[in-house]
């Protein structure tokens, strides 16, 4: 790959030192999509550390049977807070952060369509997270023991009814999700408007980078998914404080109704989280295999297909509820069929790699890990889609292992890949490849030790959400190994944080285009100026920088 010499302009920019308070004021009042994007990412990383710490406490408790490291009440709060935090205050903000940062740059725009809505969405989501954690001070859990919600991130009725959950811990959960839901809708609206209206001249929809396409589909899905969740939260508030009986079974309400509301949000949510990971892969895998993405139209079609099908699979979370044979059969089919567009994606990535010259940078190593792990996650997903198999596997540690394979093995790996790939653009400096390799291999070992083995206690009958277990079940040694893998991942994550900080000051200067890439964000300086592009670019193909670098053989000759 070509190497660039540092531009002095970049250095000069970083040298100007405003007063500390000016910097804070600048960030708090900013409406710049890049700064908002970075705040989303920073905010999510802080909560990643918090929720990761919660996971470690749970793993210490579960490492031996009949352990008394934490009380049952504390443990139940830990898994509630870990799940809620990871989904709403790590996954969503970090993915929106990258989207915010990258989408305007990739479509040749100077900002999002609604910059002030963008800032509003960030701050309301951020305060939602703080409100959730304020519950540790202000809430009052089951049995009046105080503090954070302990009803699970899924908060099944009627455990959330006031008779079973007195105090205000559940209210903090409800309100924080309501707030962050508003922020999510705002940002989704912004992304849709930006991609529809703000593309630079020549960027037709079928020339849009796949990342932008996938964020568009994700955002449209967020519209559909967040609504039922918000509605359910409002109904729950009415139940708890206005004498309504939607979910209050003691007064004739329906526990199953809550499950439907929750999962009609919850399952599309999984795809809302995973599509951005696919989006990163669609940009990173081609650049490091030095080939155009294979089957661009099929990739777009598969994404839209996943978007639609994912809206009809929610009740596969409810195979053991007693919905009846026909409902179980329908949701089995809908869930299985989603494997087809997902398979198309995996095969198209494979074909992109085929015949390429694959550069194993740390970013690409994480992407390769993503491919294997997402394959396995998909296959265990097929097992769980088989309703009778799910009667055994559902609500067991097999499910926990399966969705952590998706969330960590696929999404987090692809996020690490994205950090190594776009950090140079965001900061102007390269992340250390040496620390990065340590980070990758340690995290890979820790991940597989934890989540490969975690499937097995599920097969041996270990249910989820238990604070301890009996010694005679044969789960002990596996749980000890699973826990030790968790600590290896924690050490690897610390290396990553160290890399982020160290490279910010000491990293090699990146220059505008360190990876010899092809999309528009690499045509401006690193980091980009507040206005992104001095002159709004005009594009003639999906890979404008390829056309620029290969005028003899531009992409526009081959695209439909």
């Amino acid at each position: 790959m070509a190497t660039q010499t540092p531009t002095t302009a970049v250095l000069d920019q970083t040298r100007t030192r405003p007063l500390w308070l000016e910097t804070v004021h600048d960030w708090v009042t900013t409406v710049d999509h890049k700064k908002i994007g970075l705040m989303y990412i920073g905010y999510a990383l802080i909560f990643l550390i918090v929720a990761g710490f919660e996971a470690l406490l749970m793993r210490i408790q579960l490492s031996i049977p009949n352990n008394t490291f934490v009380s049952p009440q504390t443990f139940n709060r830990l898994f509630t807070m870990h799940g809620t935090t990871m989904v709403f205050f790590v996954g969503m903000p970090i993915l929106f952060g990258f989207g915010n940062y990258l989408i305007p740059l990739m479509i040749g725009a100077r900002d999002m369509a609604f910059p002030r809505l963008n800032a509003f969405s960030f701050w309301i989501s951020a305060f939602g997270g703080l409100l959730l954690y304020f519950s540790y001070l202000g809430g009052d859990g089951l049995y009046g023991m105080g503090s954070a919600p302990d009803v699970g991130w899924f908060a099944y009725a009627p455990l959330t009814a006031r008779v079973f959950s007195p105090g205000h811990s559940t209210d903090y959960w409800t309100l924080s999700l309501l707030l962050t839901g508003i922020g999510t809708i705002g940002t989704a609206l912004n992304i849709v408007a930006t991609t529809i209206c703000m593309r630079c001249p020549g960027m037709k929809l079928n020339r849009m980078p796949l990342l932008v396409w996938l964020y568009l589909v994700t955002s449209l899905m967020a519209f559909v998914a967040i609504g039922p969740l918000t509605a359910a939260q409002i109904m729950l508030m009415l139940d708890r404080y206005a004498g309504a009986h939607f979910f209050d079974t003691q007064a004739g309400g329906s526990a199953v109704l809550w499950m439907h509301f929750f999962w009609i949000f919850g399952h599309p949510e999984v795809y809302i989280l995973v599509l951005p990971a696919f989006a990163f892969a669609n940009e990173i895998i081609p650049v490091f295999s030095r080939k155009a993405i294979f089957g661009y139209p099929a990739m777009v079609a598969a994404t839209v297909g996943i978007g639609f099908i994912s809206l009809s699979v929610w009740a596969h979370h409810m195979f053991t509820v007693g919905m009846g044979s026909w409902a179980n059969t329908f949701f089995t089919f809908a869930t299985m069929i989603i494997a087809v567009p997902t398979g198309i994606k995996i095969f198209n990535w494979l074909a992109t790699l085929w015949g390429g010259k694959i550069h194993f940078t740390v970013s690409m190593m994480f992407a390769a890990g993503f491919l294997f792990q997402f394959l396995i996650a998909g296959l265990t997903g097929i097992m769980l889609s088989v309703a009778p198999f799910d009667w055994q596997l559902g609500s067991s540690y097999f499910v926990v292992a399966h969705f952590h394979y998706v969330l960590v093995g696929a999404i987090l790996f692809m996020l690490f890949s994205a950090f190594y790939y776009w950090y140079p653009k965001m900061t102007g400096r390269m992340l250390s490849e040496k620390i990065g390799k340590w980070h990758f291999w340690l995290f890979l070992i820790g991940f597989h030790l934890t989540f490969d083995l975690m499937h097995i206690p599920g097969l041996l009958g270990m249910p989820r959400r238990i604070y301890t277990y009996e010694a005679d079940r044969g789960w002990a040694i596996l749980n000890m190994l699973v826990s030790s893998g968790g600590f290896i991942q924690a050490i690897a994550s610390l290396l990553f944080v160290w890399n982020l900080v160290h490279s910010y000051f000491k990293g090699a200067i990146a220059g505008p285009d360190p990876w010899d890439a092809w999309t528009l964000e690499w045509s401006t300086t690193s980091p980009p100026p507040p206005y992104n592009f001095a002159v709004i670019p005009t594009v003639g193909s999906r890979r404008p920088l390829w056309d620029l670098k290969h005028p003899e053989d531009p992409d526009s000759n081959y695209e439909m």
Partner: protein
């Protein structure tokens, strides 16, 4: 470590791959098909991925290292093939699955099936045998079902408070117990013995110690068990003092001892509590010392259990323990 793993897989009391009942067997058969198909897919795709990553890695020593590889933008035929083949696999899997779903949920049960009503409570199980007039808790007794002479048990399940789930992996998949909803599930065990499990739906603080014990009895053992459970509570004159303490305290507002003033339904029926192997929903074995500790303060074994500490003096504790241990 190896011996522990060996134990878990070969003798694992809750291993889903050691089926001992009709329902668990049919799930086991289907799951082997699913595992086979997914393993084949894994080997093919992971093999291809590994091949591509190794074969096409960038080699700095190669003479064409600086040249970009040939750009290929797609191929309708190839993409069609990896759309159609997965569709076919999905159809096969779906048909096999639909067969098991429809057969297992729509079987007609024989006239002689035993009916048991299962009611989930925070954090224990109530079992009622309506045709036999038996009420018990936490330890379910059912007859073994010989293939030549099937005597399945039909569980009619609901909940008194939050959601629970009945999961005894070796006998059947799980089924949720949901308030205001009645679910039905059949157990058809072919081998006598004790089968373990536990609540599989988060139901509150002590979800973890809401354990399940299903005793599959031979016909003779089952008949003997029924005969004993149908008798009224034993009135041992030696335990008269303990009975008086029991009946003059709050015990009777929550517990039933058939034939006495104790008729509460909030906690487990204690009429024959001494005939059980465990107390506190399987949390500890049934010994006088454990009963005494549990009555003194249930949080000793089950923090978060809804029974309050009874605050009895030492003398009364001993007396109540003596009384409870006579309730054979």
């Amino acid at each position: 470590m190896a011996s522990q793993m060996h134990f878990a897989f070969v003798d694992g009391p809750t291993n889903i791959f050691r089926p001992a009942g009709t329902s668990a067997h049919s799930i086991f058969g289907l799951s082997m098909l699913v595992l086979g198909i997914t393993l084949c897919i894994f080997l093919v795709v992971a093999g291809l991925l590994l091949y591509v990553l190794l074969r096409y890695r960038h080699r700095a020593s190669s003479p064409e290292a600086e040249q970009e590889p040939a750009q290929i933008y797609g191929s309708t035929q190839i993409e069609l093939s990896w759309t159609v083949i997965p569709v076919l696999i999905v159809v096969i899997l779906f048909l096999a699955t639909a067969r098991v779903i429809l057969s297992s949920e729509q079987t007609r049960r024989p006239a002689g099936a035993l009916d048991v009503i299962v009611i989930g409570h925070q954090f224990w199980w109530e079992y009622r045998y309506p045709k036999l007039g038996i009420v018990t808790a936490n330890e379910l007794h059912i007859p073994v079902s010989e293939p030549s002479h099937p005597t399945p048990t039909s569980l009619t399940m609901s909940s008194a408070d939050t959601d629970h789930s009945f999961w005894v992996p070796r006998l059947a998949g799980k089924m949720d117990l949901i308030p205001n909803k009645v679910n039905v599930m059949d157990l058809d065990p072919q081998t006598a013995g004790l089968y373990l499990g536990q609540c599989a739906q988060y139901c509150g603080t002590q979800h973890a110690k809401m354990l399940l014990r299903v005793y599959v009895d031979t016909p003779a053992d089952f008949a003997a068990w029924i005969a004993r459970q149908r008798q009224p509570a034993l009135e041992d004159p030696a335990a008269a003092e303990g009975r008086a303490v029991f009946q003059h305290n709050a015990c009777i507002s929550c517990h039933t001892v058939a034939g006495t003033v104790a008729a509460g339904r909030f906690g487990p029926d204690l009429t024959h509590v001494a005939s059980r192997d465990t107390i506190a929903s399987g949390a500890v074995i049934n010994t006088p010392a454990n009963i005494r500790a549990f009555v003194d303060n249930p949080a000793h074994f089950k923090p978060g259990a809804l029974m309050p500490p009874m605050h009895l003096n030492e003398h009364d504790l001993d007396a109540v323990t003596a009384y409870l241990t006579t309730l054979k």
